[in-house]
């Protein structure tokens, strides 16, 4: 009986409240969480907006730079890219990359 309860507990913990416990500096974790209303919790998106979870670090950073300088056309992303520093792109990229 005890085992059964434990198993259910783990199942619940695994399926909800599932904000990732990635080892990240709290500021990077919060900045990445800023993206969730569009890109989904932990960068796992429903619908047309792309997911960020698991994205390659270099690809993420390069896209942010391309949004910023306009070489990649954007709707909302140029404004967002203009709001962060290169160091912050990297911190967010590492956070999303670590999510499986």
């Amino acid at each position: 009986m005890e085992k059964k309860i434990l198993a259910i507990g783990l199942l619940v913990a695994g399926t909800l409240g599932a904000v990732a416990s990635v080892q990240a500096d709290p500021r990077a974790r919060f900045m990445a969480a800023n993206c969730a209303y569009c890109h989904g919790t932990d960068g796992k998106s429903s619908g047309a907006i792309p997911s960020l979870a698991g994205m390659e670090v270099k690809y993420f950073v390069d896209q942010m730079k391309a949004f910023k300088d306009g070489s990649r056309p954007a709707t909302v992303m140029q404004k967002h890219a203009n709001g962060y520093t290169d160091a912050e792109y990297l911190a967010m990229a590492k956070f999303f990359n670590a999510i499986k």
Binding site: L16, N34, Y37, C38, A48, I49, V76, Y84
Partner: protein, 432 residues
């Protein structure tokens, strides 16, 4: 993104005070060092639910009690789609099931009293909860008394539909369905600040899209308490022009600025402003608003003539009352009163509180975003997006160069993004 000078000074003043206080917060106030700080959250909307799930993720030892009277979550964002006939109430409705499992206690009740000295919250059901930290996320209180005749009896006929529910949103949709072709729909916009700045103008589009299809001789009259269109003006004017003949003699939409409703005569279906008496078949009256009633109970409605709650912009703690945090629409900030902002400031508050509980310094220079889509009702949408960063010189949350702006034009792509945003923000808020 405009706000008046007085408000700016209040915001920056509160923020400056906040920074001074931030140094103390880590060690001097409730929560730090306590093994399981008790947090009471009032309101499970975009702000309160998001805060609750993120504080449980980022500081699992926190004991969270979430008090919410509604049985289900009903989204205000995209609720104008119901007026257009493009969505049902079910599309707006989500379960609290997962949030209930995440928090330590979910209390389905109304708050009737808050004692910020004893640090307790009492509910209608007679229960009292002690807190180390109180989070007030009650949205807005609608001020029906500002319009003569908009009493409880009149509210049975005239809907605001500014808090989505079957009794409001669906009832208004049914009134529009029952209206004859050639009828007049009069809708109002309160003077800013109010919840969802582009919402009224989007509403005109949504109702317009329905009229265009089902009753094309009908008119929409917008009675606006503001001088001009208060949000995304260029984009709305372009959409009204493209789809609804705005600017021509045959326009479906008529805009009247500086025309806040002053009186309502439900018997004759007339709404009066300083300048006009408008007779209409359907009246949709959104009254002025202020921070939620619970903020009044806690004595934190201290800003902007006692209407909104001045906060420390890094922690969302009241500028006056310690250990009381105010999220979302109730807070006096230079952020728009949007679902995205409520969602993200819920995380901002959780981030600050987790730092405090861990004995770590609060981020003195945070960065937070808003992204807000509006639909045209015609299969397209557009956005405003902003990144706010702490500016030490201006002592305010300011968008860096190029980090604030709107769409170039409406597009089908942005409609797809809007619907994706809706799913993601609801999932993020409610842990779905």
């Amino acid at each position: 993104m405009t706000f008046d000078r007085r408000k700016f000074l209040q915001v920056s003043g509160a923020a400056a005070g906040a920074v001074a206080a931030a140094g103390l917060t880590g060690c001097a106030t409730a929560g730090a060092g306590s093994a399981s700080p008790k947090i009471v959250v009032v309101g499970a909307g975009f702000g309160g639910s998001t805060f609750s799930r993120y504080i449980k993720a980022w500081y699992p030892k926190a004991q969270v009690t979430l008090i919410e009277p509604n049985a289900e979550f009903i989204s205000c964002p995209t609720s104008n789609e119901v007026l257009a006939g493009h969505a049902t109430m079910a599309d707006l409705t989500r379960s609290y099931g997962n949030i209930k499992k995440i928090v330590d206690a979910f209390v389905p009740d109304y708050v009737t009293a808050i004692n910020t000295k004893a640090q307790t919250v009492t509910t209608k059901g007679g229960k009292t909860f002690a807190y180390d930290r109180l989070v007030l996320a009650g949205g807005v209180e609608l001020l029906f008394g500002a319009v003569k005749g908009y009493d409880a009896e009149a509210q049975k006929t005239v809907k605001h539909a500014w808090k989505a529910s079957a009794d409001q949103t669906l009832a208004l949709r049914k009134q529009l369905e029952a209206m004859p072709d050639g009828g007049v729909f009069a809708m109002s916009v309160p003077k800013a600040p109010y919840r969802c700045p582009p919402g009224p103008y989007e509403r005109a589009c949504m109702v317009g899209s329905y009229f265009k299809k089902a009753k094309p001789k009908s008119k929409i009259i917008i009675l606006d308490g503001n001088e001009d269109i208060a949000s995304k003006k260029g984009l709305f004017v372009a959409a009204w022009t493209k789809h609804f003949g705005y600017g021509t003699d045959n326009s479906m939409i008529e805009f009247r600025g500086n025309n806040a409703p002053r009186a309502l005569d439900v018997k004759n279906m007339v709404v009066g402003t300083e300048f006009d008496d408008v007779k209409a078949d359907v009246i949709n009256l959104v009254p002025p608003m202020r921070a939620a009633e619970i903020c009044g109970m806690a004595g934190v409605r201290n800003g902007n003539n006692g209407n909104w709650c001045a906060v420390n912009i890094t922690t969302f703690e009241s500028s006056d009352v310690p250990n009381v945090h105010i999220l979302g629409d109730s807070a006096l900030t230079n952020f728009p009163k949007s679902g995205s902002v409520a969602n993200n400031t819920g995380k901002m508050c959780a981030y600050a509180m987790a730092q405090i509980f861990s004995g770590q310094p609060v981020d003195a220079a945070p960065v937070v975003t808003n992204t807000c889509y509006s639909g045209t009702g015609m299969g397209t949408a557009f956005h405003v997006a902003t990144v706010f960063r702490w500016d030490a010189e201006k002592k305010a949350m300011v968008p860096p160069k190029g980090a604030n702006g709107v769409s170039k034009e409406e597009s089908e792509l942005e409609y797809a993004y809007m619907m994706s945003w809706k799913e993601n923000v609801l999932n993020d808020t409610l842990a779905l």
